[in-house]
Each structure stands twice: as structure tokens, then as C-alpha cells.
Symmetry: C2
Subunit: 340 residues, 2 copies
DNA sequence: TTTAGCACTCTCTCCGTGAGAGTGCTAACC
DNA sequence: GGTTAGCACTCTCACGGAGAGAGTGCTAAA
């Protein structure tokens, strides 16, 4: 399924022209702007062939060509140049990873914002899942006369806190409970921690039972549900794109994204591809986003991993998107391994 | 500047009809649907008067009337009925305040989501500012061999955490430092805490200086900047409104909202009005949102306060918006006072 | 194999027209 | 005097046809 050299060059020209302008591209423009050394008529023949073999589409009989999903696919697999980020863009990203962030969640939020900003599309992050995360320590701190703060530090640096209610308990007692919990639960993976804590609770017959019960409750809930792990940027950038002038389509996409589990499902499918992964249009196998593309990659955080990616129109600047995602993959992996 | 009874009834009818349909309203509809006991011709005369006095506008010479800012203002001040939330809506809000939230930030985020959902407009919350907040305790917990977790609990239940780096320090030493910090800093308001900690640092000549320095660094940054305190909901709801079919306008509004300081500035102006405050169109004094309205209120959190509100089209359902905001004001105030 | 030429197709924009909605005014009515 | 019916007038919006423009496919020549 390969193309002879000139066809490939024509396809590349069409894709790049279309990515730039968003308008169906005609033979004349290609001949003029992309010095292929042949006349528009020849280009027309090549384009007709490319259309027959499914790499190009025509919106209607007598207008320029538009890349098909297959055309984009061939482009990103075979023709696309490797783009580098500009010095300014790299600097902005470096800067994010140098600033000391308050916590992992706001850090990821900030990352999403930056991905959206540099790509001019819609960035998203699916945070590391917590199932195989273990934790480092657990603490109960006095917060008020009838409340204590439960602090949980995981091995990848996630910090979770939760206020729990209790009847009068001294600071020393709190400390004792903390130590029991830490001793028994450190190193246990998140998906098993609640059970473990439960058996601990059963042994516990003291008057701290109520506290331990709340701790267990919290531990059960702490494995972030998928929807809580997903951070999506602001959709303003999409408004600038001509393909979203139609409000209905935009609405479809946004609500699809906000639908719980939507992106997660997409990301989970067949992940054996190269990194970053590119999903073009209908490859996403979801009706509502069948004419947008995704570029996303995986970063590892301890034993587990998260995803970071970009949602944009099919005619997105794949090359730049790949550069951005790649950079974030590396940086995030570094970020999460550093703390260990 | 009052209106005779019939004019008031006509105005009310026009406003309510327009809020419902979004279409310029004519004399016939008013006469038919709002049984005022007079003919369309009479309504026309009244409407002409209302236009002369500035309560109504006409998009063009021969179309129905549309309320002017002044018309809306009179409506919300004098004519608007008090609406109650439906049982289902109240229940959803109650439920939010019953669930145990992980931390204040995610709680406020969830509140924003719910406000957006029940209003069908765009909800926002401006979190309590931290300047006059004091804190209850400060803790340094061992996180890894070369990191400690700094945990700060404020008197309104905000929990802030931050990882700080350090060379080998034993748990006992950490505890000692925590206690020194707590002893010296508890009760100091946020805006003065960094200074106070600084003087503490100067006295400190031991090898913990590096740690204390980082703590000070963190305390300085912890007073959340305005932009970090602002939580805005998803703009999908706005897409459904006919006034935002024009993508350009929508874009203007969204980027205005995302512009740092925008909403804050609006909220800060002259706050002596009744609660909830209603700002209609040009009353917002910002070009970019001069044809949208805000309904917002204040909730108190300890010595300080935050705002919660709704952004919507000028023809928003003010009555319902007021009901929603009022309920959230109460509930949030309760929420933040409970923990004290 | 490539290219020039040309007829053809399809879209998009720009009117002009007609229907529809709603107004303002006038004159009659209670 | 306030209210109403009647009617001419205005403005928008939807529809449709015309013309320009862009681009194609095909044919025939280089």
C-alpha cells in the first residue's frame, strides 16, 4: 500500500496545504506553491488517482481535494516531517516543570492548560490510576476539637487529605493510631488497601473503631474514579477553528468529552502502537468525535501510568502535536520518578 | 420612577415572554397569553410609552419589543416573583453538602458544576480569600528520604500541602520543627504569616535553616492568587442559547471570563446592594460582557468570604438564578462555619 | 507521459420578490 | 378620555434565480 514518489509528494502537499488553510485544495495551488515541476493538469491526474485509491476526498464534484482519514494516516506514518518546538515553547514547558507545585492535581491542571495553550487545540490529561500505587505513610493530624485530618502520601507523590470526625481524642492517641495504620498498611497497593484496613478494623475493638471506620471509608474512595482523573482544558481554542463555526458540532464534541468515561474508553483501546499514538477521525470509533483527531502518549508514574494528549480537528498540525506530547511524556515521567 | 399598574403588568409580561422565547414580543401575544383584559391596540400604546421611558427596546422599526437593561432592572427589583427550587433540585444540592468531600477545592469545583447544571447557565465560585484566615496547625511529615510534606490546616478547613526538599533529618527532628512552627505561627493571619515566619527564620541558626526557608517560601505563596481562587463551570450550557449561536460572541465571553482578574474586578465593585446581587448587561461595566448578566452572592468562611454566582444571558431566568444562589450562599456559609 | 485548452459542474454571493409579523396612526366607539 | 378596530406601512426573513469564480475531467496535441 505504498505510493510512488510523485503521488506521495502530491499527497503531502495537499495535506499540508489543507492543514494550513482548511480549504479544499486545487491542482493550481499545488503546482504553484509546491514546485513539483509539473503542470496543474498533471497534478489533477495524480489527485484523481489518489482519490480512486482513497487517500483524498472531494466535498463535491468540482471543488478541490480534501485528505481522507486514510490520507492523513499515510501522511502521519510516512510523510510527516519531525517538527521541533520553538525555543519559547520549550522554555515555557521547562518552566512548568521547574516551578514547585502545591500538589499533583494542580500540577496536572496546569500541564493541561499549557498543552492547550501551546498546541492551540484542546489538551487533556488522564492522571495515573491508583490501583497499583502503594503508599508511603498515613497520618492523622489534629484539626479541631472534633475533627482530624487524614493525610495519605503515595509513592508517586500524590497527597490525599480528608477531614474525619471523631469524639475527643488526644494528640498522642491520634499519633498512636497513625502509627498502627502506617505499620500495617505501608506498601499495600491501593486496590487492596481498603480490604486490608477492614481486617485491621475487625481486630480493633477499642474506642477508636469509629475513627478507623472512617479511615477505611476514605481509603475506599481514594482510588480516584476515572472521571476524577481526567483533566480537560478550555475549549476556547476550538472556537477559533472554522470547522467548529457550526455550534452544533462543537456542542457535540464538548459534551462527548465531558461525558464520563468517553475519553477513557478511547484511550484504553489497543495500545500497542507507537508513542505518541495518533487517532484520526473515525479511527476513534465514536460517532460523536468521528471528525476530530487525538494525539496522546503515556507517561509512567511509579508502577502505574497516565496519559497526556491533544484533541483537535482532523486537519490538526500533527507534527507539532507529536512534538508537544512527546516532550510532556518525557517530562512527566521524569517528574513522577524523581520523587521516588 | 414608578410605573402605573397596567404598564407594570405589560412590562412584566414582555420580560417573562422574552425570557421564555428569546424572540421580540409583539402586542398580540401579550394580549392573548397574558389576559390583561385589553386589546392588542391598547397594549401597543402602553408598549410605545414603555419604549419612550426607556424600559423597552425595538430591534428595528416594525418588530416586537425587547426589554432594555432598565426594563430588566425594574423587573428584578419590583416585578419578579420569588421562585422556589423544585424538590429534585433542592435534593441534589442538599446531597452535595452531605457528601464528604476530599478537600475544599474539589468541593468548590463540585459546587460550581452543580450550579451550572441546575441553572443551565454558567456557574462560578470565587473561593474565600486567605488574607485574614489564620491557621490551626502546621505539620512536617516524612515523605521520602530527602523530602518532607508540609501540611497546613486553616481555620476554615482549607488544607494546603507542599513537598519540600531537605537533607537527612530524622522524624523526631521534623516533629520538633513542626512544633516550633505551630507554636509561633498559630493564630497569625495569612497575610502576615510569611513575615512572621521570616523573623523566626532569622533566629534559627541551626541546620534546619534550609527547611524553614522553604516553609517560608511556601507560606508566601499559599495565599491563593485571585486567578487560583476562581472556579468556572463548563460553557456547554451557553452553547444551547440562541444568543450564542454567533460563535464570535461566545468566544468573547469565554475569553473574558478566563482572563485573569476579570470576574474578580466585577465582583469587587460596590457591594452594598442586597444579596444576591444582580448585574444586568452594561451594569457590568465591561465591554466584553456587556450583554450578559450575573447573579451572585456572598458566603462567609470564618473571618473572610467568597462569592458564588451564575453568568447567563440578559434574558436569563433571574428568579430561578436568585433561588439557586441564595441556597448556595446559605449552605456554603453553613459548611464553612461548621468546621470551626 | 505531459500539457494546453475547453466545456462543464458546483458553490457562493448577490439581488429582488413576496409572505409574514408587527407597528403607528386615525377615526370611531363606549 | 380612554379604548378599540382598521389599515397602510415598514422591516425581516426565506426563497429562488443569475452570474462569477474556482476547479475539475476529458480530449487532443506536443
Amino acid at each position: 500500500m505504498t505510493l510512488d514518489d510523485r503521488k506521495a509528494r502530491v499527497l503531502r502537499a495537499v495535506v499540508e496545504e489543507y492543514i494550513e488553510t482548511g480549504l479544499p485544495v486545487g491542482s493550481r495551488v499545488i503546482a504553484k506553491r509546491y514546485r513539483l515541476g509539473v503542470s496543474p493538469a498533471t497534478i489533477r491526474n495524480e489527485m484523481a488517482d489518489l482519490e480512486d485509491t482513497g487517500y483524498l476526498d472531494k466535498p463535491h464534484t468540482s471543488s478541490g481535494r480534501v485528505p481522507s482519514d486514510r490520507g492523513y494516516r499515510f501522511y502521519v506514518d510516512e510523510l510527516m516531517p519531525k517538527k521541533k518546538l520553538t525555543a519559547g515553547e520549550s522554555r515555557a514547558i521547562e518552566a512548568l516543570f521547574r516551578t514547585k507545585m502545591r500538589d499533583v492535581v494542580s500540577f496536572l491542571r496546569e500541564a493541561v492548560r499549557l498543552v492547550s495553550e501551546t498546541s492551540n487545540y484542546l489538551g487533556f490529561v488522564l492522571g495515573p490510576d491508583c490501583e497499583s500505587v502503594t503508599f508511603r505513610s498515613i497520618h492523622l493530624l489534629p484539626a479541631s476539637s472534633d475533627k482530624a485530618l487524614l493525610v495519605l502520601i503515595t509513592d508517586i507523590g500524590f497527597v490525599e487529605t480528608c477531614l474525619i470526625e471523631m469524639s475527643e481524642v488526644s494528640n498522642e492517641e491520634l499519633r498512636a493510631i497513625s502509627e498502627t495504620l502506617s505499620r500495617n498498611l505501608t506498601g499495600v497497593t491501593m486496590d487492596r488497601i481498603a480490604d486490608k484496613a477492614y481486617s485491621l478494623l475487625k481486630e480493633e475493638t477499642s474506642r477508636y473503631a469509629m475513627i478507623v471506620e472512617q479511615v477505611v471509608e476514605f481509603l475506599k474512595s481514594v482510588t480516584l474514579s476515572d472521571s476524577e482523573r481526567l483533566y480537560v482544558g478550555s475549549p476556547v481554542n476550538l472556537l477559533n477553528l472554522p470547522e467548529f463555526r457550526d455550534v452544533e458540532r462543537l456542542k457535540g464534541v464538548i459534551s462527548a468529552i465531558e461525558t464520563n468515561g468517553m475519553i477513557q474508553t478511547l484511550l484504553s483501546k489497543s495500545d500497542d502502537e507507537t508513542n505518541p499514538t495518533i487517532r484520526i477521525g473515525a479511527e476513534n470509533e465514536s460517532e460523536s468525535i468521528k471528525d476530530i483527531s487525538m494525539v496522546y502518549g503515556t507517561f509512567s508514574a511509579g508502577r502505574t501510568e497516565g496519559k497526556i494528549g491533544i484533541l483537535g480537528p482532523k486537519r490538526m498540525d500533527y507534527s507539532k502535536a507529536v512534538a508537544i506530547v512527546s516532550m510532556f511524556e518525557d517530562k512527566l515521567t521524569g517528574y513522577f520518578s524523581k520523587g521516588r
